[in-house]
């Protein structure tokens, strides 16, 4: 005997369930506004904090190469009504350049390696080997960046400086872009080491996305190509990669976004030198993110708050760069809809 709709107990249950409908609806609606609110809060605070610095530093902020907090123990001067210590002068050009250089070099290195890795994992390796290896590559994406930075500063940096960079510096021809590989190789902290480690950090993002995409390429066109006598290389170049090109581009841009915002590893490996763009690939430098983490503490000793404000301006620039990269990635990836593997970012 089934209960009927007129049965009062059924109605009560019905009401309770409708209330559950409402609870889900409103819960989900409210929750989905929280990220919007949080992001707006972050951006508003950033703009408010950066505003005095934007007013005083002007457009020069993008081109100047100094990072001078000024004499925090000396007099306070006012520019456009904003108080700042005498002698303070901020320019973020070396930071912006360092951020872009490390990230772009990282992507240029990471992309071919990631594609090769994905190809090896999907087409060359037997399944019993490919499965643990791809899991291992994915795991690499999850390692905390401070641990990767530790490895960078303790092991790979000194190794490169002692065994690899001298060879490179002595043997590359002194022409064109190779000139940046000439000169004193330093001690393992600097632009190239940072870029290489960043590259290693974003390879998994690109590789695991690409691997998944490769697996989605239907077998038929590939088999047809092989039947026509295509070699592996030709199948990859003419069939597989064109098939998933937009996905690869999207994953690459996501990787670039991660490299731009990476903080701890770069803070540990870059050499942390403010105020100059490195003349060679081995030179010491720093990035926006690394500068914020290493300077925020001393910025707090500037009683006018101008140092904190200038850091906010640098942060705002980083946020804008990251946003632009992200929007591009989003436009490209929206079709694939896959969430890139997370990577420790700071």
């Amino acid at each position: 005997m089934w209960p009927t709709r007129r049965d009062p107990s059924v109605r009560r249950v019905g009401q309770r369930r409708r209330r559950e409908d409402l609870a889900w609806r409103w819960g989900a609606r409210v929750a989905s506004w929280i990220p919007i609110g949080g992001l707006s809060f972050v951006l508003i605070i950033l703009v408010i904090k950066a505003w005095p610095a934007i007013v005083v530093n002007g457009a020069d902020f993008l081109t100047k190469s100094q990072w001078l907090p000024g004499n925090t123990y000396g007099g306070v001067v006012h520019t456009h009504g904003v108080a700042h210590p005498m002698g303070s002068s901020y320019g973020a050009w070396p930071l912006i350049a360092g951020t872009l250089e490390t990230s772009l070099i990282a992507v240029v290195i990471a992309l071919p390696i990631a594609l090769g890795t994905a190809f090896a994992l999907t087409e060359l390796m037997p399944a019993w080997l490919a499965r643990p290896l791809s899991f291992f590559v994915e795991i690499l994406a999850g390692l905390p960046s401070v641990v990767i930075g530790l490895w960078g500063v303790l092991e790979i940096g000194p190794f490169l400086a002692h065994h690899v960079y001298p060879l490179v510096a002595n043997h590359v021809p002194n022409v064109g872009p190779f000139r940046y590989l000439k000169g004193p190789v330093g001690y393992g902290e600097g632009l190239l080491t940072s870029s290489l480690v960043l590259g290693l950090m974003i390879v998994p993002i690109i590789a695991s996305t690409t691997r998944d995409l490769f697996m989605q390429v239907p077998a038929l066109p590939k088999e047809g190509a092989v039947a026509l006598g295509f070699t592996e290389a030709e199948v990859a170049r003419r069939i597989t990669i064109p098939w998933v090109r937009s996905g690869i581009v999207g994953a690459t841009v996501l990787g670039l976004g991660r490299a731009l915002g990476e903080t701890m590893a770069v803070a540990m490996i870059s050499g942390s030198v403010l105020g100059k763009v490195s003349p060679t690939l081995y030179g010491t430098m720093t990035t926006i993110a690394a500068t914020i983490v290493s300077q925020l503490d001393s910025a707090a000793t500037d009683g006018t708050g101008f140092a904190i404000s200038s850091l906010a301006e640098a942060g705002l620039i980083l946020a804008v760069i990251a946003l632009a990269v992200n929007l591009v990635a989003r436009a490209i990836v929206s079709r694939t809809g896959r969430l890139a593997a997370p990577v420790g970012r700071g």
Partner: protein, 373 residues
């Protein structure tokens, strides 16, 4: 400032939790004008039960970690949390009232003082700075002075075999080895006193880079930024030819790592090795000049036998604590810390190579401590 306040007001309406926190800070701010507390005969007030938070200077952090268990053993009712986050956040957090004690290697700047007039900088101990270097084969203590250091850091002396260095060190055979000048990448009290020494001895440096917790060091090819004193020592160890300025509490490790350290030219032209004795001589010379609020640089004094880069390590405390209980507990802790029989005895200080405060400075510190309400 108005913008900062704007943010604060906006935020307050966002979170009621914060409202309560802010309200307590503001409400207790009004208890200020009572008479100063009295010191009991023992020299240390008995604290009520409380949880105190200290954060700030990484140079003072090891000392706080030695002090904390000793103090808590005497006064079980206190739970003291220490943190090494950097002088800047120490000062900022003490100013905003979120920690009871901030610690700093540098005294408060006038602008900070202006923003929060109730902030005190109370000398707790004396530290000094060592100029360390890594020259393979050279274990002697080189003679160096502000002129040479300024020339190195601005790139006009780039090799250890420079005749200018040789002239001051006729007995040492210096190799041909490029100099790598290390500086702190994070803002630091060590950079502050080091650059102050350079500014005091070299007028062109005073005009040029000047001094501060973060300065733009002249752009030279062999510069390397290091994070923290630890980074300076381990970076120097890894880099033959380096020169670095490090807080004295790191000297033991620096020596263990095979680094040498210099005798520095002082204000009367003598070359003096850093030691507790020479630092104490310098400190004694500055005692009279130390003002009641403890704000003074003790660099390059005209003091015979004194080591020229020393500084007070400060507790940054807001005069207005959030409750009477907190105020009593903070007073008790600081009274213990500056007391020559307890916190300021060599039992604790020598572990980090700090020097005790001279008695007149202790008296001044105590006066400041007793104004904490």
């Amino acid at each position: 400032m108005t913008l900062q306040r704007l943010v604060r007001v906006k935020g307050r309406s966002l979170a009621t939790l914060a409202l309560v926190a802010v309200a307590t800070v503001f409400a207790t701010g009004t208890v200020a004008s009572a008479a100063p507390a009295k010191l009991p005969k023992s020299g240390i007030e008995t604290p009520p039960s409380a949880t105190l938070t200290e954060t700030g200077s990484t140079l003072l952090y090891p000392l706080w970690n030695i002090w904390a268990p000793a103090y808590q053993q005497k006064y079980h009712q206190i739970n003291l949390t220490t943190g090494g986050t950097g002088s800047g956040t120490g000062i900022a957090d003490a100013a905003s009232g979120t920690v009871n004690i901030g610690s700093s290697d540098a005294y408060l700047s006038p602008s900070v003082k202006q923003a929060t007039p109730s902030l005190l900088n109370i000398p707790l101990a004396i530290s000094y700075q060592v100029i360390a270097y890594n020259i393979p084969g050279v274990h002697a203590n080189l003679n160096l002075n502000g002129g040479i250091l300024a020339a190195i850091y601005s790139g006009s002396i780039t090799n250890w075999n420079s005749p200018t260095i040789a002239h001051l060190n006729p007995r040492v055979k210096l190799p041909s080895l490029p100099i790598v000048a290390l500086h702190r990448s994070d803002g630091s009290g060590d950079t502050f006193i080091f650059t102050q020494y350079l500014s005091d001895q070299v007028s062109s440096w005073a005009k040029g880079p000047g001094f501060g917790t973060t300065i733009s060091f002249p752009t030279i090819s062999n510069a390397l930024g290091e994070n923290g004193n630890g980074g300076m020592v381990s970076g120097c160890q890894a880099t033959p030819g380096c020169i670095a300025y490090v807080g004295v509490s790191f000297l033991t490790q620096a020596l263990g790592d095979g680094l040498g350290y210099a005798a520095l030219g002082n204000g009367v032209g003598q070359y003096v090795l850093p030691s507790p004795t020479s630092a104490a001589i310098e400190a004694a010379g500055f005692t009279k000049a130390t003002p009641a609020n403890g704000t003074i640089s003790m660099i390059n004094g005209k003091i015979k036998g004194g080591y020229p880069i020393i500084n007070y390590e400060y507790a940054i405390v807001n005069q207005h604590q959030s409750s009477i209980g907190f105020a009593r507990a903070v007073r008790s802790l600081l009274e213990w810390a500056v007391n020559a029989n307890y916190g300021n005895s060599n039992t604790y200080l020598s572990q980090v190579r700090f020097v005790p405060l001279p008695a007149p400075v202790v008296a001044q510190s105590l006066k400041q401590i007793l104004t904490i309400k």
